[in-house]
């Protein structure tokens, strides 16, 4: 068991491309860190560096307080699931799982017990004697998980381990991973593209973009206080609406003024900011950040601003209806109850201003 500390890590591949540009992360013993970010932003690279499979160009990695920069993978006491499964093609599932154990001289009886345990856990008992080539994508992924779970290392590294599973199995495996993590308490770094996985599994989330960490915090922080527009739109589905506005002070209160267009009237949304902040930001061009559920048919007395908007399209997703409309010249998505929009082409919505976020339009950084 160990904490993981990543200090100012940089990675430049031999072809001269700088893939990671100064990464700092710190997680405690037993914590679950999620890495998210667009394709090619360097998540796998970072994971490989933690594992010792890629050299560190600059900076320091510590596992359990010990610098591991120059330690080979096998001495770091880690287990890893690869994005491409990386099962040994000539070995059966059983041999794949046992390979690491036998190299570590685990007694045979213990190996057998371990194989039985992970096979049961991952529902691959029937596949133990098959070769990887005889498995489906999802089955391979589970075997890859099994290979990692066969050991109890200091650190688990998972690179999108559930990306190829069907929805049902994915939910099951997600719950299983969570349970396992609760039970074993092993520090984990987990790469995913899946919002729900990120929000439900993570103790901490690091959102990356082009080799830079955009925000590092708890799932709640990331969701409710995104530090910039990238994080705001990356996490959450459908993404947060960003509506161009201008900060305005009136009678000691702050507002975000949204210009009107042919569809919607001009609008002033009250902001919860201090008078000094009003003075500082007066007339600044900003983006007003509203999650779809903050523009709904649900009125909150005192903090709501009502507006009537044309409906461009609706998608009913079970309990909710997603209403696509436009406000301030941009398309926005609102989450309402299906009956509010049934058969109408205009809908009356309430903007919940109490959780509205404000981003500087030129830098993208959050100011409120």
């Amino acid at each position: 068991m160990a904490n993981l500390s990543i200090k100012n890590i940089r990675k430049t591949y031999p072809n001269g491309v700088e893939v990671l540009k100064g990464i700092n992360l710190e997680i405690n013993d037993g914590e679950f860190l999620i890495l998210v970010g667009g394709s090619g932003c360097g998540k796998s690279t970072l994971l490989n560096m933690i594992a010792g499979l890629e050299t560190v160009s600059e900076g320091e990695i510590q596992i359990g307080g010990k610098r591991v920069n120059d330690l080979p993978p096998k001495d770091r006491d880690i287990a890893m699931v690869f994005q491409s499964y990386a099962l040994y093609p000539s070995m059966s599932v059983r041999e794949n799982i046992a390979f690491g154990l036998s190299l570590r001289k685990v007694p045979n009886a213990e190996q057998e017990a371990t194989i039985a345990r992970v096979a049961k856990l991952l529902q691959i008992e029937a596949l133990l004697d098959r070769r990887p080539a005889q498995l489906s994508g999802g089955q391979r992924q589970r075997v890859a998980m099994g290979r990692a779970l066969a050991r109890e290392p200091q650190l688990f590294l998972f690179d999108e381990p559930l990306s190829n599973l069907d929805a049902k199995l994915r939910v099951e495996m997600r719950a299983e991973i969570k349970r396992l993590h609760k039970r074993l308490g092993i520090t984990t770094v987990y790469v995913t593209h899946d919002q729900v996985e990120a929000m439900t599994l993570g103790d901490k989330i690091a959102v990356m973009k082009e080799g830079v960490i955009q925000q590092f915090g708890t799932p709640d922080d990331i969701y409710s206080k995104p530090s910039n527009t990238f994080v705001a739109t990356f996490m959450g589905s459908p993404p947060m609406n960003l509506i161009p506005a201008v900060v305005e002070g009136r009678d000691g209160a702050g507002f975000a003024r949204i210009a009107g267009d042919e569809n919607s009237p001009p609008l002033s949304v009250p902001l919860l900011i201090s008078s000094s902040a009003i003075a500082a930001y007066e007339n600044l061009r900003v983006l007003l950040g509203l999650r779809p559920e903050q523009v709904s048919d649900n009125e909150r007395p005192g903090m709501s601003v009502a507006v009537e908007l044309p409906v461009a399209m609706t998608e009913v997703t079970g309990a909710d209806a997603m209403v696509f409309t436009s406000l301030g010249g941009v398309e926005i998505v609102c989450r309402t109850q299906p009956r509010s929009v049934a058969g109408t082409d205009r809908v009356r919505l309430h903007i919940d201003a109490s959780h509205a976020l404000v981003f500087d339009a030129s830098t993208g950084l959050r100011i409120v």
Binding site: P14, N48, A51, G52, L53, P72, P73, K74, I78, A79, M80, F82, Q83, S84, Y85, A86, L87, Y88, P89, S90, M91, F99, G100, L103, R104, R131, P132, A133, Q134, R147
Partner: protein, 282 residues
């Protein structure tokens, strides 16, 4: 496809097969005839009174220069030379391919390109430098010298084969093995070797054919006692004691060609499979 076009395709194929097999047939038929029958009969006629006399003579008593012990001693020479040379060059080629694809280092691509150039160096060019090298390391005129020459010369090819085969193996496989605690040779033996069957077959056939059939290195670098069968065959055919014994010559030629034929028949189906095998799936 119509019956007619199918028939004509088969006709062409059969003709091509006959054309290719004709020389073999002539050799085989001639080797089983007595000298009298050869003189009187037609070239392509089947032997009327087949005899194995020419084969026995070619194997154990025909004269190759001053020695008259047939091809037998040289056949063993060739085996003693070819088998180790094939195995060593194939094995080193496999290691080279493994390193060049899975343990890339600064300059590994340059090294590979340089090795490729080795494939294009004609035998004649290396004769003199190689002779000097063999002299210096004390391997002149011996089977070991020949083995050494063939290993060195074959490395460019075997490395090329294995590199091109291993290059399609995903890096993540190595990474997973390293995390599991496998080192350089463990990965090679336990993970790469078991999936290398087809390319081993290709490489062994190629090397066996090259080395067994080589004449130039044999004639230049072998001593009188270590000459390979190709050199002996040449001597046998050119040594005449009065009358030219075509039947013995043919039998000797077939004996000299048998091992390569054998290797092709045993491993041939893997040969094609290995040459066309692209990615390693699963």
């Amino acid at each position: 496809m119509s019956k007619l076009s199918r028939a004509s395709i088969y006709a062409v194929l059969v003709l091509a097969a006959l054309y290719t097999l004709a020389p073999l047939w002539v050799m085989l038929a001639t080797s089983l005839k007595s000298l009298d029958e050869i003189r009187d009969g037609s070239l392509i006629a089947a032997p009327l009174a087949p005899t194995v006399e020419p084969w026995l003579k070619a194997w154990s008593s025909a004269c190759t220069g001053v020695r008259c012990e047939g091809l037998k001693p040289f056949f063993w020479n060739s085996l003693l030379m070819t088998i180790p040379a094939v195995l060593i060059s194939t094995f080193i080629g496999a290691l080279n391919g493994y390193v060049l694809t899975q343990w890339r280092f600064r300059g590994s691509e340059v090294l590979f390109t340089a090795l490729l150039v080795g494939c294009f160096i004609p035998f004649q060019v290396v004769l003199l430098p190689m002779a000097r090298t063999l002299g210096m390391v004390g391997l002149s005129d011996s089977i070991f010298g020949l083995i050494f020459v063939h290993v060195v010369y074959g490395l460019a090819f075997t490395t090329l084969f294995f590199r091109n085969y291993y290059v399609s193996i995903p890096q993540d496989l190595m990474k997973a093995a390293r995390v599991d605690g496998a080192g350089f040779f463990t990965i090679f033996w336990r993970i790469l070797m078991p999936i290398s069957g087809p390319i081993f077959v290709v490489c062994i056939i190629w090397q066996f054919t090259q080395i067994w059939n080589d004449f130039l290195f044999g004639v230049v670098f072998a001593g009188a006692d270590s000459q390979p069968i190709t050199v002996a065959l040449n001597n046998l055919v050119r040594t005449s004691t009065g009358v030219k014994e075509y039947n013995v010559d043919m039998a000797a030629a077939i004996i000299a060609a048998l091992p390569t034929l054998f290797v092709y028949i045993v491993a041939g189906k893997y040969f094609v499979r290995g040459l066309t095998a692209g990615a390693v799936k699963g």
